[in-house]
Symmetry: C2
Subunit: 227 residues, 2 copies
């Protein structure tokens, strides 16, 4: 049982990635019922995207209003018995991040996964996020380098569109695990775009082994913690 | 005379893009002195990046603190006589955006330039930003599609890594000008990475004509307004 909580309140993208953007959330006795993605009800989502009347509605909210909703998303959603709760945050180290860490503290979160692109500009942002994790006592499970190299589907040559290696270097520098590089992969972005099941449809895609390795890494970290 | 104000307080990237990340700002009688990029002092910058002691310092700030600094950045910096003030915001429609629009209202800002990538997920975010501009009475100067197609340097074939056309469609739908597509260009990202002058060094790059066209469009909009 996996819950996915989208705390990117101004840019909720998780509902579309799972092709459930037209669903609504309902109330039950134990709170808001999250949206289930599959028939087995093994993956449930909560996002402000489900609460907007129209998809173009802008969430013009200052911090305090965001903080109140994030608390509700953690406490007032009928998540049920979850094995994992995955929280997707926007970039930064502000209201969404502080409120999420505070709301989850009683549940002893396993840790944070930091995602960078290879460029120094992006690595700089993630260095600041590392400092945030240190300050708030959140363990860093590892760093992922996204958009790392593009393999041309015509000639199979790889080009490092945004340079390369920034994520791995940063992991070494910070003494945290490097979880791997996810290449720029048109099949992956197409899947996210159309809410299709990448794992089922593109097992031979370049991003597939990279994503599998990252998932394995995190699942290992989780079983170490619980043992 | 151009001023550039970086209100991405948790992820200030402008100083590095101009290779002045080691500069400090000083006080003078008329306020903070911005950092000048060139010898002619025609481009001046202000960013929280100049105020941090160490580059890894995390700005763990909730909204109200961010709002206060943005007001200071507009009112208490000795910008001098500017032809343009360009404000770079993080994604979203929250504290940084509301505070910037409020602080600049007395100066009658020309408008907003919205940047999307081609995917539906990103276009969805920018649709919400369009609603924000409407609500706050900010004119939309136009929409730019970034990361739009990649021309392989080995075989010259173009691949639309993140699909294509989302920005142009959105501009049509919203009835605002489409300013053009900026391709994924390793020379552009390398320039931003190393703080080099893209315009001087790579006039034959694929992104060059796209950027020129966008600049021309904006400068035309500005002269129309002032005439």
């Amino acid at each position: 049982q996996v819950g996915i909580l989208d705390v990117d309140l101004c840019g909720p993208s998780i509902p579309r990635m799972f092709r459930v953007q037209d669903n609504d959330v309902h109330q039950c006795d134990s709170g808001w019922v999250p949206v289930f993605v599959d028939q087995d009800k093994s993956i449930s989502l909560m996002s402000i995207g489900f609460l907007l009347e129209k998809p173009d509605d802008a969430v013009v909210w200052r911090g305090p209003k965001k903080n109140a909703l994030i608390k509700q998303f953690v406490a007032d959603v009928a998540w049920g018995d979850l094995d994992f709760l995955i929280v997707d945050t926007p970039p930064g180290t502000s209201d969404e991040h502080i409120s999420t860490v505070e709301a989850l503290r009683p549940y002893k979160p396993l840790g944070a996964i930091l995602v960078t692109t290879p460029q120094a500009v992006s690595v700089g942002d993630v260095r600041r996020e590392l400092t945030f994790c240190k300050k708030t006592g959140l363990r860093v499970l590892g760093i992922v380098e996204n958009m790392s190299g593009f393999v041309c589907p015509h000639c199979s040559e790889c080009t490092n569109v945004f340079s390369k290696g920034g994520g791995e270097e940063l992991a070494k520098y910070a003494g945290v695990p490097f979880l791997g590089c996810v290449p720029l992969d048109p099949q992956l972005s197409q899947s996210l775009e159309e809410g299709r099941d990448f794992i089922q449809e593109f097992p031979k895609s370049a991003a597939f082994p990279a994503l599998t390795r990252i998932a394995q890494h995190i699942s290992d970290a989780a079983s170490q913690q619980s043992s």
